[in-house]
């Protein structure tokens, strides 16, 4: 395994020989091993369909690995009881390419959903949130850059793309996560907003000491914001190191620009699509 860049303690994520195959035959990721230190901003880099989303989702067990180990914050994810898994997920924030907000509900409720794990049965049944939930949510929305209180009561589907991603960042913030998993968080946004959101995530992570694992397909963004880049190609690690050592040669290999035109990558693409 290659060296870590910003080692500030023991690794918070360890992956050993992780394989995920869909339908028993298509390998989305193959025997991936890596470890991520606390506080790192890791970008999983590569074209669509190389298993970035799958790897990301194996970390909080939204996708169950076919074989191999995932150890998050010292705990074996595979051995967990359902209760332990839910507790782990509440410590791992996640943001998505399509934001995945509840369209018909208000911005505030969407953000407070980040606290669902600790919500009582009765409160969930009656859709009531505590005063503290509201305070935490408003604080998170402000941190995510939404200061206009008029927005808080609007339905989530009335917002613009950038605003939606801010809301989903706020939802993740109220979880007070130790780790942020981000699945192509800026792929649906315009170029200016891409940088705004990347900066926002980076600043939050740096300030709170949160580890970030983000899948990304834009080279420039990866180079600019990541402290470590893991290049994936057809389900295996093709590069692992700091952004400045990512040579053109490696990039061409990852994107298969020079060699064969991705005979095997077709399979992986459909596997990834099935997951999304």
């Amino acid at each position: 395994m290659s060296e870590q860049i910003q080692v500030s303690g023991a690794p918070i994520i360890v992956v050993n020989d992780l394989t995920k195959s869909y339908d028993g035959k298509i390998n989305a990721i193959m025997e991936i091993s890596l470890s991520i230190a606390k506080g790192e901003f890791t970008v999983l880099f590569g074209p669509s369909g190389v298993g970035k989303s799958t790897l990301l989702r194996c970390l909080n067990c939204l996708v169950e690995p076919t074989s191999g180990d995932v150890i998050v914050d010292g705990q074996q994810v595979g051995d967990m009881s359902n209760k332990e898994l839910l507790a782990l997920r509440s410590d791992v924030g996640m943001i998505f390419q399509e934001f995945n907000l509840i369209n018909r509900m208000s911005v505030l409720v969407n953000v407070m959903c980040g606290r669902l794990h600790d919500m009582s049965f009765f409160r969930a049944l009656t859709y009531t949130f505590s005063r503290e939930d509201h305070e935490v949510a408003i604080h998170a929305l402000r941190r995510a850059g939404l200061h206009d209180t008029e927005l808080y009561t609007r339905r989530a589907d009335t917002l613009s793309g950038g605003q939606k991603q801010r809301v989903s960042i706020a939802r993740m913030l109220v979880q007070e996560p130790k780790i942020i998993l981000a699945d192509e968080p800026v792929a649906s946004l315009d170029v200016k907003m891409q940088h705004t959101i990347m900066q926002l995530v980076r600043d939050i992570a740096a300030r709170d000491g949160i580890t970030v694992v983000m899948s990304l397909h834009q080279l420039e963004l990866a180079k600019q914001y990541a402290s470590r880049i893991i290049g994936l190609s057809e389900g295996v690690v093709a590069f692992d190191g700091p952004p400045q050592s990512l040579s053109n040669d490696v990039i061409n290999r990852i994107f298969k620009i020079v060699d064969d035109k991705g005979v095997g990558s077709q399979d992986n693409e459909s596997a990834d699509a099935g997951n999304e």
């Binding site: 939204l62 997920r89 669902l116 794990h117 939802r171």
Partner: protein
């Protein structure tokens, strides 16, 4: 491309077109044959309509003018019909919602239970409410109770199907996002699923309210109460002028229900 291959290309294209036309011809022939056979078998006979005209005219003469003197005694059966429809629509909600949740494939990993529930719903809805009413009348006797029960059974099956299909059509991303926060299945249901399917559910319930009002009017034919029973009695007694009054009442009440239902639907969506 040289001429020979071009010719071959064109030939194969022409052949393909001919085959498509032949297929259509074949399908048309099959439809006509089946239709003709059905007409012969069921004794569908257009000349009969013409030769039987005096009988139809006679019937119409006995129908008009309608006998409005029976209107006061229609209120009871009409209200019965409306109540049957209301119960037959609201009670199934309590069964259909949990059953749909048990069988929606995108949130269920237990396919055995899911398939059993699905089969159960399928049986409930493939038996028409009129048939349910017939069976139940012989089981529990005449009246509005077997009628209401018939509506409940059929509607549970149909609503259940609409309900689980609505769940299956949800954007999986929202469910995933809820799961990623560490929410358990119940909370995913409350926050990820219900807000999204609620307007669809309301629309389905309104549809079945209309549908059941219509169905409740004919359940009387098999002795299951309501305005249909009054109508059947009138026809059996050859009091066609009274039967027409019943029909007018049915049309009026259905029109009113349709209007109310449309108005409510425009409010929820």
């Amino acid at each position: 491309m040289n001429n020979a291959t071009l010719d071959a290309e064109i030939d194969s294209l022409i052949k393909l077109r001919q085959r498509v036309l032949l297929n259509w011809l074949f399908i048309l022939t099959v439809i006509l044959a089946v239709g003709g056979y059905a007409a012969w078998f069921t004794g569908f006979d257009i000349p009969e309509l013409v030769t039987g005209w005096p009988h139809i005219w006679n019937l119409l003469k006995r129908m008009f003018p309608p006998d409005f003197s029976i209107v006061p005694i229609l209120y009871g059966p009409l209200i019965e019909t409306l109540q049957m429809a209301l119960l037959g629509t609201t009670i199934p909600i309590f069964f259909a919602v949990p059953l749909a949740w048990l069988t929606a494939v995108n949130i269920r990993e237990d396919h055995v239970l899911g398939n059993i529930v699905r089969l159960f719903l399928h049986v409930l809805r493939t038996i028409p409410e009129l048939l349910w009413a017939m069976l139940l009348v012989s089981a529990v006797g005449l009246g509005t109770f077997p009628g209401t029960l018939a509506l409940i059974l059929h509607t549970t099956g149909s609503m259940g199907k609409f309900f689980y299909e609505a769940i299956e059509a949800i954007d999986p991303g929202v469910i995933e996002a809820m799961e990623a926060t560490g929410a358990n299945q119940f909370k995913v249901l409350m926050f990820g699923i219900i807000p999204t399917v609620l307007p669809i559910y309301m629309s389905v319930v309104l549809l079945y309210w209309e549908f059941n009002t219509r169905a409740a009017t004919i359940l009387g034919l098999v002795g299951a109460g309501g305005i249909g029973l009054t109508l059947t009695h009138a026809i059996q007694a050859f009091e066609y002028d009274e039967a027409v009054t019943c029909l007018i009442a049915i049309v009026l009440i259905l029109t009113v229900i349709d209007r109310i239902s449309n108005y409510l639907r425009s409010k929820v969506i």
